[in-house]
Symmetry: C2
Subunit: 439 residues, 2 copies
């Protein structure tokens, strides 16, 4: 019987495990997960902090018993990998105080990502919003504080700041960039969500944190000091690839390099999810996209290839979405700033529009910025800010960009139109028209 | 100076007129509109009947004075065409009691559509929900009645029945089809909106109206008779092409045949909007799609070609959307029934899913039915029923089908994911996966 070992029980790992069991009932599938949670969703942690739900089991799509009993997976929770020897196809694990050895025929690395930190003097009141397994203790700790510094104005920082602000905390958000979400959207787009944030959060922009001292109660930046009751560090994550350093080829941010089949530089060894590198379909360069939809699909692809059925992961276009209060902010592909950095000569259009017919109650503002390649009018990216129907419109571009669509293709999209949820001229179509026809 | 004559001041006509003025400031553009309204939106009439707004000027994107003063268009409202002689490039119009002759160099026919009727004995209490110009008198009449028969269970019939039911009227909806919207979605999908309709409207399905008698107060069907206070006939529309019969080549339902430039069988004569035939990109056959987004884009294309800049209208995929109360129902492309009728061998998947993460409050049901070509996995159609983010997901498929996407392309779409508005596995991606991977 062939033995598949999967390290990491998150989205990619459990997706892969379930598919292998289904495709290859004869294979033995072992999953090693260092926490007590599997198929978990870190993206839910801010909503838990906000108090929108209380049962931490809801972080899991399925509980461990489901995978063990219903899917026949040899799932071992609370099991940490001590040593991995890829050449010998061998791993040493630690369960509580016991050490055990496991051999395997196929290996899937799905170890996810870990938070990046800043210099600090201890973990007592220094917090990370990352793994759902620690969400309950994190919430208990943060809810007991009054004034909290959040370091980082990216997706996680914004969502954490929002959650704590809604819970009545005084939040100081310290961000190195010129405006929040600056690695996600262009500055012009930021003006459509920034005023609301400024009115509710003490935003410190263009300010770099040098050190957190006094056990999380003093944040020292290049512009000043902040006395707070505790500090959340949310400046981003990096691939959790330490285990394989020196054993496998690493790429962008030390993510694991794979081919389209998710196979690493070592035959029979696959990587999927946040720990794996991906290929950007727009820039045609290596990229790293640590989000759950990509992770799940990478796990799916790895499972098929382990099972001997060739499937290829086509690559990424870089889809992101977050929200602040009722306003959703998302992007697909490249921002103008990114496109310029990648040496594209671009054409762009910014459209402000409404989400419903002018006579239909409840219409909301929506902004669409579309970026296209000057040479061939191929769409390079879109940024959208609005309160309704943002998600689907982003997905339109995710699919369009993947299929190499031009602004002409988007203009002629036969968009759905119902006065209660749209205008005849959809903002996507208007943005495409601006580039296609000059207005 | 070259003279462009446009007959019809709806979406297609005014879109064409505005673009020609912009592209060819030297051309004289005359628009003849038989009512007092231009750039009007018939799709808003049901919401006006429901009482969601009261100002009939809101039906117009811009009022006539805007087009005349700001855009320099020779717009003539309340002007009916008496006779059109295409060979001689000549039209005779009637304004109040005056008759006038107009010659032109280019002609754009944008005469829209007209309601289909059933046998009836007079117009006194027999109503049509069609032109916004008559919406005020229609509303006054219908609001004064108590029990109203609505004939037709398509989009317009459903929207009218909903509006009148919300206004407290007793509505009998008589529909020849087996279930409402049967020309839009498959029967399995109808079960997700039908129960709500049945609980609020007296639905008579599979029943054909033979005649409306007693000045709209008696509806006689093949199964019985209904005594009501008045009758709304909403069984559909047909191209308003009577004016050109015998002069231009007509196609599907007597819509005007054009090439990709929207030029008819007569050089210099264009057609756009509901009166024009279109080409279906899936069936590769002629089709007829009488909806505003298509009309606007056809008008745009006609304008460019009249101005000597070649643009081509690529064709349609058949996008439709409507709602009943809070439930949106939409489709793009072919239903299974249609696909089978066009001799496609199909694979299909039906997914019931939720719109938000399991831990996020306010999640709604959503159903997606995906239809693909068995041979090459090309997507042929999608049907979606749900309460949020239906529009954008339809648009994903409108663009995907237009670009010839397969279920594999849809599965690997890098969909946006935020727990507040989506699940990691988007219902579109799940439906694609069911066909692509068997589950």
């Amino acid at each position: 019987m062939q033995r598949v070992l999967i390290i990491g029980g998150g989205a990619a790992g459990m997706s892969a495990a379930s598919w292998i069991r289904r495709l290859s009932p004869d294979m033995k599938v072992t999953v090693l997960e260092s926490t007590q949670m599997v198929s978990h969703a870190p993206c839910g942690v801010p909503y838990f902090l906000e108090g929108l739900f209380d049962d931490p089991n809801l972080f899991m799509t399925y509980e461990p018993s489901f995978f063990i009993e219903k899917r026949g997976i040899d799932l071992r929770i609370n099991t940490r990998v001590k040593e991995l020897n890829i050449k010998d196809r061998h791993v040493t694990v630690e369960i509580k105080d016991k050490v055990e050895s496991i051999d395997y025929d196929y290996l899937i690395l799905a170890t996810g990502s870990v938070p990046i930190t800043v210099k600090n003097d201890g973990t007592e009141r220094v917090y990370f919003v990352h793994h759902p397994a620690h969400a309950s203790e994190l919430r208990k700790a943060l809810w007991s504080l009054n004034k909290i510094a959040v370091i980082g104005g990216g997706i996680l920082g914004i969502e954490t700041a929002e959650a704590l602000s809604v819970k009545g905390k005084k939040v100081v958000l310290i961000h190195r960039g010129k405006y929040p979400l600056n690695r996600m959207v262009d500055e012009d787009i930021s003006s459509f969500f920034l005023p609301k944030m400024i009115s509710e959060i003490d935003l410190r922009l263009g300010e770099a944190v040098l050190e957190v001292r006094d056990k999380g109660r003093l944040v020292i930046t290049d512009k000043g000091e902040y006395k707070v009751d505790g500090t959340v560090i949310a400046i981003g994550v990096r691939p959790n690839s330490d285990l394989v350093k020196g054993q496998l080829k690493l790429g962008v941010y030390d993510s694991i390099v794979t081919n389209e089949k998710m196979e690493t530089s070592e035959k029979g060894v696959f990587a999927a999810g946040d720990v794996a590198q991906s290929f950007n379909l727009i820039t045609k360069q290596s990229d790293w996209v640590p989000y759950a939809p990509v992770a799940n699909k990478m796990g799916f692809v790895a499972a098929f290839n382990v099972s001997g059925i060739e499937k290829k992961f086509p690559g990424v276009v870089g889809t992101m979405i977050t929200k602040y209060r009722e306003t959703l902010v998302g992007k697909v592909g490249l921002t103008s700033a990114e496109a310029t950095r990648y040496n594209f000569k671009i054409k762009e259009a910014l459209v402000k529009h409404k989400t419903r017919a002018r006579y239909y109650p409840g219409s909301k503002d929506i902004w669409v910025k579309l970026i296209a390649n000057e040479k061939d009018s191929r769409i390079l990216g879109v940024e959208i800010v609005g309160q309704e129907e943002v998600l689907g419109r982003l997905d339109v571009l995710a699919e369009a960009i993947m299929k190499g669509a031009t602004v002409e293709d988007l203009f002629f999209m036969e968009n759905a139109y119902l006065p209660a949820v749209a205008r005849v001229w959809d903002p996507l179509v208007l943005a495409a028209r601006k580039i296609y026809a000059g207005d």
